[in-house]
Symmetry: C2
Subunit: 237 residues, 2 copies
DNA sequence: TCAAAAGTGTTCGCTATACACCCATGG
DNA sequence: CCATGGGTGTATAGCGAACACTTTTGA
């Protein structure tokens, strides 16, 4: 299946067999302290101009899918080197009405506080999961699958911390895990467990988000985590 | 990025921008009662003719990646409707020296006993993980990633049973989990735990694989498992 | 009669869970 | 002074890990 380039003639790229287009789409997760959110953009091109969609675009011929996803992410949020993870590739023959498009889907975990508007003029907005708008193509399916993958992955890697600011209260951490896993924990047990695990480093500073008692700030200690993991430890809830 | 078909001219498919080829590759896992194995084929085409590779091939323009993977699997092993799962898509720009090829990788769990030779003339052989040959392209990387994904997935789904015959002894089940997770369990604790979980159905028949005491055969009870799962239970080891 | 493998039972320690309690703050 | 939220301690039940015992069978 050789690449029979035939550029002289109208700058076309020609192949003996039909080739699909390949895109990278990004499900960008954020956390506002209470709820898990996802960043969507309003399409400024047809088809479905004006509809909400996942950020994404065509993969350039000399970049990997991951590089493509990171590029899209940067263009959309201004973030460099965010945590991204490939979770599924969607390839139903008719998922795009124009031509065959296969999309390699990534989810990104970003700190909402650090996201400024991207270069792109397109409107972007954070949505909670219970107020999602209608999405184009199969993007709702992609979103569901991303959520499911995140939920699984969080059992094996401390990825939750990517969604929190550098320093956070244990209450915030608990809210995050509750939002992702859709469960409720006893506040005191969660607190005790985190202290016992010793992968959080307590700061001297406190913060006062509720106007009530001051709360300690913590920082994730990756070295300590890796050390624990070595000894066959898994992050479980 | 419209599909500028231009078939009149030498049956070529032409596009305004370069398009990659897309293949589906299959990591076929089997279990012989003691060790996890993987099915490889000897390439009968260039490049790397005669080298060992993962079974796979180009996705047809009107089939999904999953359909493609199932087709490859059928051609290679003669198996219909085996358990397959997409685990990663490999897209490094130079992973194939000929042209840009993106591959959507699946792993398949098959019962070794049911695998006959496929239609394809190509030679196929089962390999244990400690006797893998040199593989073409980035297939060794794909294989490693498949192993890793299987290891994770087995915590969430009872996929191990796809690798065993319909009826099996608890000893065989233990060997399987030990092989996949690379751990050792106490024989008696494993036995007790399986009995307690009640997702295995004990048969009347016994079997005598070791020429010693007779061993009971068991069958996986999917209904019971789904019931347990509903109540927030997870398959853990 | 001895070794190997299957099946069952028991004990112990850890941890998940369910709580009670105290402190600080704002209204 | 009381409602709210943060931080710490404690009792209990259940499960996992370690291991003893019995039975069956082939050599």
């Amino acid at each position: 299946m050789e690449d029979l380039n035939n550029k002289a003639d109208k700058q076309l790229y020609c192949y003996k067999y039909p080739h699909p287009s390949v895109t990278a789409d990004c499900v960008i997760f954020g956390f506002d302290g209470y709820k898990l959110k996802v960043l969507l953009i309003k399409r400024d091109v047809n088809p479905y101009k004006g509809s909400w969609a996942l950020p994404g675009g065509f993969i350039k011929i000399d970049e990997s899918a991951e590089e493509g996803a990171l590029r899209e992410l940067r263009e959309e949020t201004g973030l460099e080197g965010a945590y991204i993870r490939q979770f599924h590739t969607f390839s139903a023959p008719n998922r795009d009405p124009r031509e065959r498009v296969i999309t390699i889907a990534y989810y990104a975990l970003v700190k909402m506080q650090e996201v400024k508007g991207g270069d792109d003029a397109a409107e972007a907005r954070w949505f909670a999961f219970d107020e999602l708008p209608q999405l184009v193509f199969d993007h709702d399916q992609i979103l569901r699958k991303a959520e499911q993958s995140l939920r699984q992955q969080i059992h094996f890697e401390p990825i939750g911390f990517e969604l929190l600011p550098k320093q956070f209260t244990i209450k915030e951490l608990q809210n995050l895990y509750e939002a992702i896993l859709d469960v409720r924990f006893d506040r005191r047990n969660f607190y005790n467990k985190m202290k016992r695990l010793e992968m959080l480093e307590q700061m001297k500073e406190t913060v006062n988000p509720s106007q009530k008692k001051e709360a300690f700030l913590f920082r994730f200690n990756r070295e300590k985590y890796e050390e624990l993991k070595q000894k066959g430890f898994r992050l479980e809830f």
